[in-house]
């Protein structure tokens, strides 16, 4: 402890912020879905895993031969358009066609002409994972709308196992390296009080991207018409429907946004820790769920706060009490139990009757 310098504190702060941001991004998906349909979507960790793999393969297999790229873009374009049609209102047809055409031509050119870098891979993965999230909802959860909540919960667990096993079949059970040669991996140093702090671009980039995504999400929820409809659905789906909100659309949209954020988290997680494998969603998924509950499930700021709290606990427990390293996960779960006992609505969650 006498060795705990200022530089060490700064170093730990950055590491904790990065880890916490990743948890926060995943936790947002849990909390949004819970807010809208009161479902703990246990398959969210697997959506996160898919996000990492889509980026992995986008970088591995590009550039594609033009015929393959054409096929892929037609397929992807079709599904994206279908999802857009389901999610956005039908009235904006011309906008959809323009958007679809831009995505189609853009991805075709991208896939044929060069190997994609991690930024393009991140965007491609967010797009594909969004589609996967919407499909998951349409296939696994929509048929159960109106069924008892336990049925949905069990379906969510089944979907999680299903995706893990399909992942092992398709991607292979091995851990694969996700090493990107980018200047962001360069070791940078900073001098604080005579001691050196070491970091990389990725370390700073993760919280930055998280902040940008959060800002966009917040603007969307509070300012846009669809955001307003989302809030209305969260408060009372039946009344919202009576007021002309297409509830199915809003639920699809929620899954779309949650999956997009999970994909961003998945790609950044892979960039930061350098590997992808089909079971990689398991632990971050549970941690992010814990984060969502600690912050107050259903609350967006709560998810972010919960994620950060978890990240900071994990780093500082090891750093301040090295003898307790083996128990780092235990601290997070003990906090979860305490929160559930004494403040079941979470740190900044509102009363349980309120949502989102």
């Amino acid at each position: 402890m006498e060795n705990y310098t200022l530089a060490r504190g700064v170093q730990d702060f950055f590491n904790a912020l990065t880890l916490g941001s990743l948890y926060a991004l995943i936790a947002l998906g849990y909390t949004m879905v819970y807010g809208i349909i009161r479902l703990i979507n246990f398959a969210h960790g697997e959506i996160f895993m898919l996000g990492a793999f889509f980026a992995f393969y986008a970088m591995l297999f590009t550039p594609l031969p033009w015929a393959v790229a054409l096929l892929v873009t037609v397929l992807v374009g079709g599904v994206v358009l279908g999802v857009l049609r389901a999610v956005l209102s039908a009235s904006s047809g011309s906008r959809q066609i323009i958007l679809g055409a831009v995505i189609f031509i853009g991805s075709f050119l991208l896939l044929t002409f060069r190997a994609v870098g991690w930024v393009e891979a991140l965007l491609i993965s967010m797009l594909l994972t969004a589609v996967a999230g919407v499909l998951l909802e349409a296939i696994a959860y929509r048929p159960l709308r109106g069924a008892p909540r336990e049925s949905m919960l069990i379906t969510a667990i089944a979907a999680s196992f299903f995706l893990q096993n399909v992942g092992q079949l398709i991607f292979g059970p091995r851990i694969q390296g996700f090493t990107v040669e980018t200047s962001l991996n360069q070791v940078l140093t900073l001098n604080i009080g005579g001691d050196t702090v070491y970091f990389t671009g990725i370390l700073l980039l993760v919280p930055a991207i998280t902040a940008v995504l959060l800002f966009i999400l917040n603007r969307f929820i509070t300012q846009s018409r669809l955001g307003k409809a989302m809030r209305a659905t969260a408060q009372d789906a039946e009344v919202a429907q009576m007021m002309g909100v297409n509830v199915n659309q809003i639920i699809s949209l929620t899954f779309l946004i949650g999956a997009t954020l999970a994909a961003a988290a998945g790609v950044m997680y892979a960039l930061r820790f350098g590997q992808v494998h089909p079971l990689m969603g398991l632990l971050p998924g549970i941690k992010a769920f814990t984060a969502a509950v600690i912050g107050g499930i259903g609350s967006l700021p709560g998810a972010v706060l919960g994620g950060l709290v978890l990240g900071f606990i994990e780093i500082y427990v090891v750093s301040l009490f090295p003898a307790l390293t083996a128990y780092r996960d235990v601290f997070a779960f003990v906090l979860l139990i305490l929160i559930l006992l004494f403040r079941p609505s979470g740190l900044i969650g509102e009363d349980l009757t309120e949502k989102v």
Binding site: P173, R174, I175, Q176, V187, F273, S319, T325, A326, R328
Partner: protein, 379 residues
């Protein structure tokens, strides 16, 4: 027509009687964390099986079970083999999966040969349990001597996976020997599936180690090495046989450049020239059957676990498990592909094993190779 059919059926029945099969169980980590090593070990066993497909005039059938790199899976595999009534079980790879399976199989009176468990406890579970590897009291001591005496380390940071029998035990043996030789040590713990090592790494900064010993696996090793280099540590890292896996360098790229580790002896490190020639011939046979397989001591250990069982059945002249076990326990200087195997007078650990020192070296184009440096023998 009917007669002909009957004749065919009768021939088939007689045929299946004549080729009564001997079943050998294979309990391996074919998915999950250790899948890469598991696949290589399985390839080794399959090549050995192809070379010696029958004994006592009976076909040998392999019953392969994937334990998914979980203790529960390993116990389930062991129970399946008890029900199937196999003579012997080959595997598991790691100590954490081998020990629970060994407890089941010892109780059932079935022979088990762990291909690469190195925790001393494994073979002490009972007289039916054998292994093909050396033990960690040897591996840890050899590595500590190398770190202190050859690399001249005075301060060594040790990273161990606290929830794994192998990693924890190995770190203990290393730590004891390093301190006995006068080095100072600092131990840092982590648990399986850890990806963020930044806090542990910063814990060793003030200690300023000369050498870092990593007794864990590649799943955690890749993020560990990546963050180690990213956090400005340039010290020599020394690992153990769990690092002998193509997953390691693939998982973190150039962070593994220069990484040293101990492992099963590769053919070129086996001192006995005849054993060396056998190992090299086996390597060719393996690549002929599985051109894309990785190859290391794991494949050799897998093959020999099969070979010694067949040899013991041959010597016993029966598939009676007790007789086969006795033949195995009296095996002396069996010419295996991983070196000579002697179980006579041991607890089920071969008397003479060679441990190899290796290093991962990266080329400018990002490709890498595993360079065999030298071997040290238990004898």
């Amino acid at each position: 027509m009917r007669k002909a059919l009957l004749l065919v059926a009768a021939t088939l029945a007689v045929g299946s009687l004549a080729s009564a099969q001997i079943k050998i169980g294979v309990n391996l980590e074919l998915s999950g964390r250790f899948a890469a090593i598991g696949q290589e070990t399985l390839n080794g066993i399959k090549v050995a099986h192809a070379q010696l497909p029958e004994v006592l005039g009976q076909q040998v059938e392999l019953s392969i079970c994937d334990n998914e790199t979980t203790r529960e899976g390993s116990i389930a595999c062991a129970q399946r083999f008890v029900n199937e009534g196999v003579v012997a079980v080959l595997g598991a790879i790691s100590s954490s999966m081998s020990i629970p399976a060994a407890e089941v199989l010892q109780d059932a009176g079935i022979i088990m040969i762990s291909t690469s468990s190195t925790n001393p406890q494994t073979t002490q579970i009972g007289d039916f349990i054998f292994r093909m590897a050396y033990t960690d009291d040897f591996q840890g001591v050899v590595a500590a001597r190398y770190a202190v005496q050859d690399l001249g380390a005075q301060r060594i940071a040790i990273f161990r996976q606290i929830d794994d029998d192998y990693s924890f035990g190995l770190a203990e043996f290393f730590d004891q020997e390093a301190r006995r030789l006068g080095a100072r040590t600092l131990i840092q713990d982590f648990v399986s599936n850890t990806v963020d090592f930044t806090a542990q790494l910063n814990n060793i900064r003030a200690f300023n180690p000369d050498v870092i010993y990593y007794s864990g696996f590649c799943a955690e090793g890749a993020p560990f090495m990546k963050q180690l280099r990213e956090q400005g540590f340039n010290q020599q890292v020394l690992g153990a046989d769990a690092s002998d896996d193509p997953q390691c360098p693939n998982g973190a790229g150039k962070a593994f450049d220069g990484y040293l580790f101990t492992g099963f002896a590769a053919p070129e490190l086996i001192p006995n020239p005849e054993a060396k020639a056998r190992a090299e011939a086996f390597r060719e046979a393996l690549f002929e059957m599985f051109p894309n397989s990785s190859f290391s001591g794991f494949a050799l250990a897998g093959a020999d676990s099969y070979n010694v069982v067949i040899e013991a059945i041959k010597r016993a002249g029966t598939t009676d498990v007790k007789a086969v076990r006795d033949a195995l326990a009296n095996l002396e200087n069996f010419p295996g592909v991983s070196g000579d195997v002697t179980y006579k007078g041991t607890d089920g650990t071969p008397a003479d094993r060679t441990i190899g020192f290796y290093q991962y070296k990266f080329n400018d184009d990002g490709s890498w190779e595993r360079v065999a440096l030298f071997g040290r023998s238990t004898r």
